[in-house]
C-alpha cells in the first residue's frame, strides 16, 4: 500500500541466478547489484528507423529483472542495460521479434516476458478476462433483467412496515 518498497529489489536468489546466467551466456562482467559508478557512459539506444522500432518493441516486452513493474526499456538498472545490449546486437544481426524473445525465454524462462505467453496453463490468464467480458452480460440479464416483475411475495415489506418494525426495536432499546 504505502510505497515503501523501492522499484528495485525482489528476492536475492533471482538476482544471483541472473548474474550467473548473464555471466555464462554473455560473458559480460556483471558486478553486485547496486553500484552506479561505471567507467563507460551509457550507450545511446536507437530510437528511429526499423532498427529503433524493433528494439523498442522487444525491449518493451522484456521485464527488468531487478525492478517491479518496469520493462528493460524503461529501466537503467545494470541488468537491464546488459539485456538491452543483447537485444540491440540481435536486432542488428537481423533477427525478428519472435526469435529474440525466444532467445530470452530459453535462457530465463517465460518469467522474463512481461505478459505470460498464451500457451499451456497461461491460457487461463488470458481466457479468464475474456470469459468475464463475454459471460457477464448474460449473467446480468439472468440475475437482474429477468426479474422484470418482482413478485409481491409474503416476505416483501414496504418502507412503512420497515419503519414500524424499527420503531418497535427502538422502544425496546429505551429500557
Amino acid at each position: 500500500m504505502l510505497k515503501t518498497m523501492t522499484r528495485h529489489g525482489p528476492t536475492l536468489n533471482i538476482i544471483k541466478l541472473l548474474v550467473l546466467n548473464l555471466l555464462l551466456t554473455t560473458a559480460l562482467v556483471a558486478g553486485e547489484s547496486g553500484p552506479v559508478d561505471e567507467d563507460a557512459l551509457k550507450k545511446a539506444w536507437p530510437s528511429d528507423g526499423p532498427i529503433g522500432e524493433l528494439f523498442h518493441d522487444v525491449a518493451g516486452s522484456l521485464r527488468c529483472p531487478t525492478c517491479t513493474g518496469l520493462s528493460v526499456l524503461e529501466s537503467d538498472a545494470r541488468f537491464s542495460q546488459q539485456i538491452k545490449e543483447i537485444v540491440l546486437e540481435q536486432v542488428e544481426a537481423g533477427k525478428n521479434r519472435e526469435q529474440i524473445l525466444q532467445y530470452f525465454t530459453e535462457r530465463y524462462g517465460p518469467w522474463i516476458l512481461r505478459s505470460p505467453p498464451p500457451r499451456g496453463f497461461n491460457v487461463l490468464a488470458w481466457l479468464l478476462p475474456l470469459t468475464i467480458l463475454l459471460l457477464g452480460p448474460p449473467a446480468v440479464w439472468f440475475f437482474v433483467w429477468r426479474k422484470r416483475r418482482v413478485m409481491n411475495t409474503l416476505g416483501v415489506r414496504s418502507a412503512d412496515d420497515i419503519i414500524k418494525e424499527m420503531q418497535g426495536r427502538l422502544k425496546e432499546m429505551q429500557g
Partner: protein, 659 residues
C-alpha cells in the same frame, strides 16, 4: 520511558476495543441502549489513546530517540524536519499504526454522527468497526510494534528510504489510508443492515456520504501516488500496473461501483443486496491490498513464510470473509426490494448496471493479473510475470465502454425507455465534438504518431471523450432549461447531479490524458560540454555537471539551457542525488510542462572525473497534465455530491415524530 508508555497505551487500546466489541454485541442482542453507549465510549477512548500514542511517536522522532527500533530504522540525524514528520509512515510498523489510527478516528466519527433513524443498527456498526480495530491493535502489538526498544541506543539512525524523501510522501499515504479506512464505515453499515435484516433510507444517505468521502480520498491518494512515481522514480511514467498500485486501484473500482449501486437503490429500491456485497468487498479489497503488498507474497510464493505478519493477515481476511458470508447467507433473504411496481427495463437503471458490470470486470481483470503469478507458480511451479502489456490489452476496451456508457446513461431516465431529446442531443454532440476533437488532435500533435493503430486509437478515443463530454453538458443544459435556468433552485436540489456531472467530466478528461500514452517520444543523448541536442522542437544545450548540497542530499546537477524555435525558454536541471545514508544515486527529474505535453529529462549518467560529459534521457510525455487536472476535477465533483441535501427521508421523519 515514553516509548514504553506508548506501548502500554496501545495495549489499553486493544483491551478497550475488545470490551467495545463484547459490549456492542451484547447491546445488539439485549437491545440495551446504555450498553451500546458504553461501547461507543470504548471506541472513543481507544481513539484518544491511539492519538496520544501517535503524538508520542512523533515526539520521539523529533527527539531522535534511537532507543526505539522503528525510529532507528527509518530516520537519521541529518533528516530534515518535514521528513522527520513523514518518517512516521515510511515503513511497515508506522504505516500499520497510521492505518489503525485513521480507522479509530473515522470509526469514532461514524459512531457519533449517526442519523436518528439508524440508531437501531448502531450496535452492529460499533461491533463491526471495533472487531476490525481489535485485530489491527493485536497485530500492531504482536507483529509490528512501533515502540519496540533497541538497546543500547545508537548515536545515529539508518536513515529513511531515500525514495520516500519527497513532499508527495507527506500527503499520499495519509490520503490513501483515509480512503481505505473510510471504506470500513459503509462495510460496517452493510454488516449492520444484514444483521438487522433490512435497509432504511437513512442507512442509504449515511452510507452514500461515507462512500463518497472514501472515493474522493482514494481518487486523490492514487493520483498523488502516481505523481510521486512520476517525479521521483525517473522512468517517465505515473502508472506501471505494479501490484502496489493495483491493490489501491481495485478498492477504487469497487467504491465507484458501489456509488452507482447506491444511486439505483436510492431511486428504485433495487440492488440492495448488491450494495451490501460491494460495500463489504470494497473494504475487503483495501485490506487484501495491504496483505499482498505487506506480506511479500506478491514477489514470490516463497517469500510468504518470511514475513510473520502475512499469515496473520491471511487468517484475518479469511475469518472476515467467512463471517460475513455466513451472516449474508442467513440474513440476505430478508433483504428485499420494497415495492413490487419498480420493474427493470431499457432505462437509466439498466445503464447503471452495465456501468457497474464494466467497473467490476476491470476490477476482476486487475485482480487476476495481480494474483496470477502466485497462482501459476503454486500450480505449475513455473515463474511468470504479469506486467503492463497484459493490463493494457484489456483496460482500454473497458475505458471505451465506460466512455460510451457515461454518455448514453446520463441521457437516459429512470423507469422509462424514453430519452428526452436523446437522438437530437447525441447527434448534436457528435457535431460539436468534431471541432473539439480537432483542437485536441492539432494541439496535442496527435498526427505525429507513427503506428497507424495508435493513431486511430487516439483519434477515435479523443472523439468519443469529446462526444461524451458534450452529451453530458447538453443534458445539464436541458435540465436547466426545464426549470428556466433558475440556477439557485437547481443547485439547492441537485447537488448530487452536479457533483456527478463534474466527476464524470473529470474521468473523461483523465481518459483523454491517458490516450497521450500512445504517442510518447523518447531519446537518449550523450553530450559533451557545450553541445546541443535537438528533440521535438526543443534545443537543449549542456554546460557541465555541478556538485551542490541541498538539505541532506548531495546533488550532481546537469544544467541544460532550453531553447524552442530559436527563443530561450529557460534552464532545467536534471540531477542525481546522493543521500548520506545510502550509496545509491537517486533521480531528480527535471520537468518543463506545457498544457499539451511535458518535457521530462533525467540525467542517466555522467563523467565522474571532470563532469564535462553526460548522458540524458529525454522524454515528451503528452497530456500528462490532463490527468492531474482530471483528478482535481473528480475530487471536487465528489465533494460537491457529498453536500447533497437530504431529500425526503421517510424513516427519519417517522423517528422524529415518535421521539
Amino acid at each position: 520511558m515514553l516509548a514504553d508508555l506508548g506501548f502500554y497505551l496501545l495495549l489499553l487500546c486493544l483491551v478497550s476495543t475488545c470490551y467495545g466489541v463484547v459490549a456492542a454485541v451484547l447491546a445488539a442482542l439485549w437491545r440495551h441502549r446504555r450498553l451500546y453507549r458504553s461501547s461507543r465510549l470504548a471506541l472513543t477512548a481507544s481513539c484518544t489513546m491511539a492519538s496520544v500514542a501517535a503524538l508520542m511517536l512523533w515526539y520521539l522522532f523529533f527527539n531522535r530517540d534511537y532507543s526505539v527500533a522503528y525510529i532507528f530504522k527509518t530516520s537519521s540525524n541529518d533528516l530534515p524536519q518535514i521528513y522527520t514528520l513523514t518518517a512516521f509512515w515510511s515503513s511497515l510498523e508506522g504505516s500499520h499504526f497510521l492505518w489503525t489510527l485513521l480507522l479509530c478516528i473515522y470509526g469514532t466519527i461514524a459512531l457519533w454522527t449517526y442519523s436518528k433513524d439508524n440508531e437501531h443498527i448502531m450496535p452492529y456498526v460499533s461491533a463491526s468497526i471495533q472487531a476490525v480495530l481489535g485485530w489491527m491493535f493485536y497485530l500492531l502489538l504482536s507483529h509490528s510494534d512501533p515502540f519496540l526498544r533497541l538497546f543500547p541506543a545508537r548515536p545515529d539512525g539508518q536513515g529513511m528510504n531515500t525514495l520516500l524523501q519527497n513532499p508527495y510522501m507527506a500527503i499520499h499515504p495519509p490520503t490513501l489510508f483515509t480512503g481505505y479506512t473510510a471504506l470500513a464505515i459503509p462495510a460496517a453499515y452493510s454488516v449492520a443492515a444484514l444483521c438487522y435484516g433490512d435497509i432504511t433510507e437513512g442507512w442509504l444517505k449515511t452510507t452514500r456520504r461515507w462512500t463518497l468521502y472514501a472515493w474522493c480520498a482514494l481518487t486523490a491518494g492514487i493520483i498523488l501516488g502516481g505523481h510521486w512515481a512520476y517525479v521521483e522514480l525517473g522512468w517517465s511514467g505515473y502508472w506501471a500496473w505494479d501490484p502496489v498500485e493495483n491493490s489501491s486501484f481495485i478498492p477504487w473500482l469497487f467504491c465507484t461501483s458501489l456509488l452507482h449501486s447506491l444511486v439505483v437503490q436510492d431511486k428504485l429500491g433495487h440492488l440492495k443486496r448488491l450494495t451490501i456485497i460491494l460495500a463489504f468487498l470494497a473494504f475487503f479489497f483495501s485490506f487484501f491490498g495491504t496483505f499482498i503488498t505487506r506480506s511479500g507474497v506478491i514477489s514470490s510464493v516463497h517469500s510468504f513464510a518470511e514475513s510473520p505478519i502475512g499469515p496473520n493477515y491471511l487468517a484475518f481476511l479469511a475469518a472476515m470473509l467467512l463471517a460475513v458470508a455466513v451472516i449474508y447467507g442467513f440474513r440476505a433473504p430478508s433483504i428485499l426490494p420494497p415495492e413490487a411496481d419498480k420493474a427493470w427495463g431499457v432505462s437509466k437503471e439498466s445503464a447503471l448496471v452495465i456501468t457497474q458490470f464494466l467497473l467490476l470486470t476491470l476490477a476482476a481483470i486487475v485482480c487476476v493479473g495481480t494474483l496470477y503469478p502466485i497462482v501459476s507458480e503454486a500450480i505449475t511451479g513455473e515463474r511468470t510475470t504479469v506486467q503492463a502489456p497484459y493490463f493494457n490489452a484489456f483496460a482500454p476496451w473497458i475505458g471505451l465502454g465506460l466512455v460510451v456508457a457515461i454518455a448514453l446513461g446520463n441521457l437516459m431516465r429512470y423507469q422509462t425507455n424514453k430519452m428526452p431529446g436523446g437522438p437530437r442531443l447525441m447527434i448534436g454532440a457528435a457535431v460539436v465534438a468534431l471541432p473539439l476533437t480537432a483542437v485536441l488532435v492539432i494541439g496535442g500533435d496527435v498526427m505525429s504518431t507513427k503506428k497507424p493503430f495508435n493513431l486511430a486509437a487516439q483519434v477515435v478515443g479523443l472523439f468519443l471523450c469529446a462526444w461524451s463530454t458534450v452529451s453530458l453538458t447538453g443534458d445539464l443544459v436541458q435540465r436547466l432549461r426545464d426549470i428556466r435556468f433558475k440556477l439557485g433552485l437547481f443547485l439547492s436540489r441537485n447537488l448530487a447531479y452536479v457533483g456527478g456531472y463534474i466527476a464524470h467530466i473529470g474521468l473523461l478528461i483523465a481518459i483523454a490524458g491517458f490516450l497521450g500514452n500512445y504517442r510518447g517520444l523518447q531519446k537518449i543523448a550523450t553530450l559533451n560540454s557545450g553541445e546541443t541536442v535537438d528533440f521535438y522542437g526543443y534545443q537543449l544545450r549542456f554546460d557541465e555537471i555541478k556538485e551542490l548540497q541541498k538539505d541532506n542530499a548531495t546533488l550532481y546537477q546537469g544544467a541544460l539551457e532550453v531553447t524552442r524555435a530559436g527563443a530561450p525558454i529557460g534552464a532545467i536541471t536534471p540531477a542525481r542525488s546522493r543521500y548520506p545514508t545510502s550509496t545509491n544515486l537517486n533521480h531528480e527529474v527535471a520537468l518543463m510542462s506545457t498544457f499539451w505535453h511535458d518535457l521530462y529529462v533525467t540525467l542517466s549518467d555522467f563523467d565522474r572525473e571532470n563532469g564535462r560529459k553526460a548522458t540524458f534521457e529525454l522524454h515528451i510525455n503528452p497530456t500528462v497534465r490532463f490527468v492531474w487536472i482530471a483528478a482535481f476535477v473528480m475530487v471536487i465533483g465528489g465533494i460537491i455530491a457529498m453536500f447533497d441535501r437530504y431529500r425526503g427521508n421517510k424513516s427519519r421523519d417517522a423517528i422524529r415524530a415518535a421521539l
